[in-house]
């Protein structure tokens, strides 16, 4: 399925803003929540932290209903790793 142009623009916007907010929060998050998952509401820069991605998503859906989120693993450049080559 080829993503629609609007969907690609939204992805680029959310990811770019999310990374920017994460960089701003990195020092504080990395001291308090290493290895946990942060869900960032990119428009306000507000965020929630969960022990894993499911917990972070559950909290974020309650706190920011309908908002697009950027997920990051605290202290890591990615949330997940796929170790199998497709």
């Amino acid at each position: 399925m080829k993503p629609k142009a609007g969907a690609t623009a939204e992805r680029e916007h959310v990811v770019a803003k999310g990374r920017e907010v994460y960089r701003r929060l990195a020092k504080e998050l990395e001291a308090k929540f290493p290895g946990q998952i942060v869900a960032i509401e990119v428009e306000s820069g507000d965020h929630v932290v969960g022990g894993d991605e499911l917990e972070a998503a559950r909290k974020a859906r309650e706190r920011f209903p309908g908002k697009r989120l950027y997920f990051a693993r605290v202290g890591s450049r990615v949330v997940h790793k796929f170790r199998v080559l497709w």
Binding site: L69, A72, V78, V79, H80, F82, R83, L85, W86
Partner: protein, 130 residues
């Protein structure tokens, strides 16, 4: 207890039902158990065309090549180990449904490559029974 098998490529597999909602229906998927994937579930984007799943947003993940890609993540529903549960699903360009170690929390995975069988059961003391 969930029973699976080792496929022709030597990968452990189990069946799970992906609940895509009223339009997409229930889809039986043969999921590859990927202990190299530290998430819950990865699903091919093409499968989600008719899903009613809520788009949560996006995440960055790393491929085995080291490349980092950003993909959508969904609040998805699956039937697995006798229960319907919500899971955090990464949509990818891959063709396989991958079941990651997140789905195996509180469980014991046994793969008998000699006999070609796979068993997923509750971890002793987890309080789960099925």
């Amino acid at each position: 207890m969930v029973r699976g098998w080792v496929n022709e490529q030597g990968e452990p597999q189990v069946e799970l039902v992906v609940d895509l909602g009223p339009t997409g229906g229930h889809v039986m998927a043969q999921a590859v158990i990927d202990t190299g994937f530290n998430g819950y579930l990865s699903v091919p984007s093409v499968l989600l065309g008719s899903a009613d799943w809520e788009l949560l947003g996006f995440e960055d993940y790393e491929l085995a090549s080291g490349e980092v890609v950003s993909e959508p993540v969904y609040w998805g529903r699956v039937l697995f180990a006798g229960e319907e549960r919500f899971v955090y699903v990464v949509a990818t360009g891959a063709s396989d449904v991958l079941l990651g170690t997140g789905m195996l929390k509180q469980k014991v995975l046994t793969v008998n490559f000699g006999a070609g069988t796979v068993l997923i059961g509750p971890s002793p003391g987890s309080g789960e029974e099925y």
